[in-house]
């Protein structure tokens, strides 16, 4: 029954916050050694979907298999029961997670942030854990920062520590929850570059992102969620090229509108007084907005 090609298999996934359905009967396969990007408007359920794949959020119905291993719940209908902690960790072992807010442990050095789980969970000796952590940190370009504390790093560096922490445990799959959304624009590139390198190495990745450029260039599969359902799914060319789904169209039109740089025609400068008062936002000629 298990699809051998799928790293993650989601069937009939349902989740609601109170009466409000966040995920409504989701079926999704995450292919091995490929990058799946999940895009969509805020509140469409994309982060919740990703968190379910790590069982950081539980769900009311449906099943998730991580490489054939049930995550969260086993059985169907009346026989459905919550997994034991042991079963959850057996499935989670294959999964790394990178958080939007990094979630590093501020009382530990960069090295200890990566090495502690290796010692406590993977039962490596102190020196083995440190060696492995150094290797993971070198991979994300932070070999020179191992003894610093997280607050002394830039946001981009902190997120790369987050990636190293996930990477060090040799996961088969890494889930990224808006990994660049909390970063200053000029720091986004360094994180995306590390992710590109991982993709090139054949890591199975699921990325919730607002970085359409990254999604279009790196993804093998793009999933568009809207109002708790998967509204569209396909290759980047299918989703970004000429989508037939009207919701995808308007979402992308809105995105490109916000991210297009146009020069302001000469001679239409805002009056100085208005600029000083701070309410003279220059209007862009031909922006299409009233």
């Amino acid at each position: 029954m298990t699809n051998r090609e799928s790293a993650i298999e989601i069937r009939g996934l349902k989740k609601s916050f109170g009466k409000f359905p966040v995920l409504d009967d989701i079926d999704l396969d995450i292919p091995r050694s490929a990058v799946t990007c999940i895009i969509g408007p805020s509140g469409s359920g994309k982060s919740t979907l990703l968190r379910c794949m790590a069982f950081l959020t539980d769900f009311e119905a449906g099943s998730i298999l991580i490489e054939g291993q049930p995550l969260g719940f086993v059985g169907e209908g009346a026989a459905r029961r919550a997994c034991t902690n042991k079963e959850i960790n057996a499935a989670r072992e294959r999964v790394g997670f990178v958080f939007q807010q990094f979630n590093l442990w501020p009382h530990l050095t960069v090295l200890e942030n990566v090495a502690m789980p290796l010692r406590l969970v993977n039962k490596l000796s102190k020196s083995e854990a440190a060696g492995k952590a150094r290797k993971a940190l070198a991979k994300v370009g932070l070999a020179d920062h191992v003894s610093k504390y997280p607050t002394f790093l830039s946001g981009g560096q902190q997120q790369r520590v987050g990636i190293a922490r996930a990477l060090a445990q040799d996961p088969h799959i890494i889930l990224f929850d808006e990994p660049t959304s909390a970063l200053d624009p000029e720091l986004v590139g360094e994180v995306l570059q590390v992710m590109r390198d991982l993709a090139a190495d054949g890591m199975t990745m699921v990325v919730v992102t607002h970085e359409m450029g990254f999604a279009s260039q790196v993804a093998d599969q793009v999933v568009f969620t809207d109002k708790g359902v998967i509204a569209a799914k396909g290759s980047p060319a299918e989703i970004f090229g000429n989508p037939d789904n009207p919701r995808v169209r308007s979402f992308l039109a809105n995105y490109f509108e916000r991210n297009t740089i146009r020069s302001r025609p000469a001679g239409r400068d805002v009056p100085a007084a208005a600029g000083q008062l701070g309410w003279g936002m220059p209007l862009v000629e031909g922006s299409g907005r009233a």
Binding site: V95, F97, W105, P106, Y149, F152
Partner: protein, 219 residues
């Protein structure tokens, strides 16, 4: 005029008394911290009966003077069949008192550890105990360290109350010496100076620890 020579002749007794005070303070603060962590866990747990019991405990302890707790443990427990030595009674009373305060101090510290950090621990496969021991507790300790140091200085001085149940610690030594040489003021001044030394040493050590932890943070 003050005349210290009589009291100073007994200085070794004062040092023995101070040493006893230190032992009681260290003992009650350490045991109290362990008890406080458990009470605090109960206080913030979602199990209602645990949370409620912890609340009642903290409330009762904070409303009862240490001296009253001490006299209850010393005088009333034997009536219900619990026979404790004066030393054990003293340590028990000091411990249950400071635990109530420390639990309430720590609660604020645990609240300061973000849910995201806990999720990061879970996803790496850490057990709830490991998350508690290696993520929550060290940070709660750092966040509440100034208040905890304050509590230690209060308890160092609080040990003087156990002199009332006959424990030979610094205050009791001072009273004994003062009574025997009819110079109580000088004896008490020497005791006060020694308490000052102990609390100041504690504050300096605490500040050093705060300073060390401050290097983990960019201001």
């Amino acid at each position: 005029m003050l005349e210290f020579s009589g009291a100073l002749n007994e200085f070794p007794l004062f040092l023995q008394g101070a040493w006893a005070s230190i032992l009681y303070a260290v003992g009650c603060l350490t045991l109290g911290f362990l008890l406080a962590v458990m009470i605090c866990m109960a206080r913030i747990s979602t199990v209602r009966i645990a949370s409620l019991s912890a609340r009642v405990y903290i409330n009762v302890i904070r409303a009862t003077p240490l001296l009253v707790v001490l006299l209850i443990v010393f005088n009333i427990l034997p009536f219900v069949g619990v026979e404790l030595s004066p030393e054990a009674s003293a340590l028990l009373s000091l411990t249950v008192c400071t635990a109530g305060y420390q639990a309430e101090i720590l609660r604020g510290g645990f609240a300061g550890v973000s849910q995201g950090q806990i999720e990061a621990g879970r996803i790496t496969g850490m057990s709830e105990w490991q998350i508690f021991r290696h993520i929550k507790l060290p940070q709660a300790f750092r966040l509440t360290l100034p208040a905890l140091i304050n509590e230690t200085t209060i308890m160092i001085k609080g040990t003087s109350l156990i002199s009332t149940v006959g424990i030979l610690e610094l205050t009791r030594v001072a009273q004994n010496v003062g009574n025997s040489n009819f110079r109580p003021l000088e004896a008490l001044l020497i005791a006060a100076a020694l308490y000052w030394l102990m609390t100041t040493a504690m504050t300096i050590a605490g500040d050093a620890l705060i300073h060390r932890y401050a290097r983990e943070k960019q201001s």
